[in-house]
Symmetry: C2
Subunit: 221 residues, 2 copies
């Protein structure tokens, strides 16, 4: 019997919840451990992740300790998705899934994150960096829209871990843009992206994690 995987995360950031969605999709038992922001860059947590970030996992079934959400997702799928429900075994499909995962990791996540930083957390309001990263978000959305036109999913005709990897950052956009979000009108301007994201958010695993995140944030973590 599979023992619960420990998922180290925090409440507000999207990356641990991204891993949680994969755990839910694959019905892998897990336990979420919240790491307080104050503790994240010091021991004992840095013994788990020397980079001082979440997520990280500890899997008692294999003994592995692993960080970086992209690597964790690849590990979970290769180890537990025995029927390849969220991936492909054929080439080029299996590499195209990796391509979109790396785009999520190196393109979506960092740019969306920098936009959030300059919009919400930087100690001074700076117009041009804020604009730079908000523009980059729209560019990333436009790339996804173009790739998804005429298609339901990024690779082939089934939902893969690559599609799911984008959801939690996408759900941050109303927070990042504030009042400006409505004016971007993604439904009209990027309809393939909009329909794809809507479809993904309606999956039971994504719905559950959205609720779990709201509940965790309401607890004040």
């Amino acid at each position: 019997m599979t023992q619960p995987i420990v998922l180290h995360g925090h409440t507000s950031g999207p990356n641990p919840w991204k891993v949680a969605i994969i755990l839910e999709e694959l019905k892998i038992p897990y336990e979420l451990k919240i790491v307080d922001f104050a503790d994240i860059k010091k021991e004992p947590y840095t013994n788990i992740n020397v980079n001082g970030r979440v997520p990280a996992i500890e899997d008692p079934n294999t003994g592995i300790t692993l960080w970086e959400s992209g690597a964790i997702i690849e590990y979970l799928v290769e180890t537990y998705d025995k029927e390849n429900t969220l991936t492909y075994t054929t080439s080029p499909e299996k590499y195209l899934v990796k391509q979109w995962l790396h785009f999520q990791m190196s393109g979506q996540g960092p740019y969306f994150g920098q936009a959030a930083w300059f919009t919400k957390f930087h100690h001074e309001r700076l117009e041009s960096p804020t604009k730079r990263y908000q523009d980059e978000i729209v560019r990333v959305v436009s790339v996804l829209d173009k790739a998804l036109t005429g298609k339901k999913y990024l690779v082939g005709n089934k939902c893969t871990y690559a599609d799911l990897a984008f959801v939690t950052w996408d759900s941050m956009l109303p927070f990042i843009f504030g009042d400006k979000f409505a004016t971007l009108n993604f439904e009209k301007n990027y309809p393939a992206y909009f329909a794809w994201n809507k479809n993904l958010t309606e999956r039971p695993a994504v719905q559950k994690i959205t609720k779990d995140k709201q509940a965790a944030m309401a607890k004040g973590h």
Copy 2:
């Protein structure tokens, strides 16, 4: 016989050269095609990479077209590194290699790139964003230094694709920091990182690509 893989790149950016190092290490024949910056975000190049970035590869041996340097590296190693010289087949080692690759893709590359942007290319000089990203570079270096203390390579005792993935961005640091670079004194402050990077830059594949890049830049691409 392996037909040459087409590698789409440009001269100055580090990511195509990162892939070239892997091609050299694995002795895979390839042909570098320079995409001019003016052509990168429009057709026909966007038919190869909808994201309008380099690198991308076209492999006539398998018919695949693939972008995102991280995914390309995973593809090349899985397809051509039959003796696993740059990776592991055992767990947890093979996932730890992926972990460091994802850290390179999502941590090193984006932050180093933003530092270069605000130092060299942004239309106005802004102190706090420049400081933010330069500080983040030093933090990434300190994480690598901590992970490498007492070790020659990131995972186990051989050089993997994860080690090699960091080299081309690391080589940009004198350019990014300018006169400030010497004052950071990585040799004294981050000796494990310094020795690791020096060792990697002395590999024949890295030496060759360093020369190829310099020659391409001298041609004025």
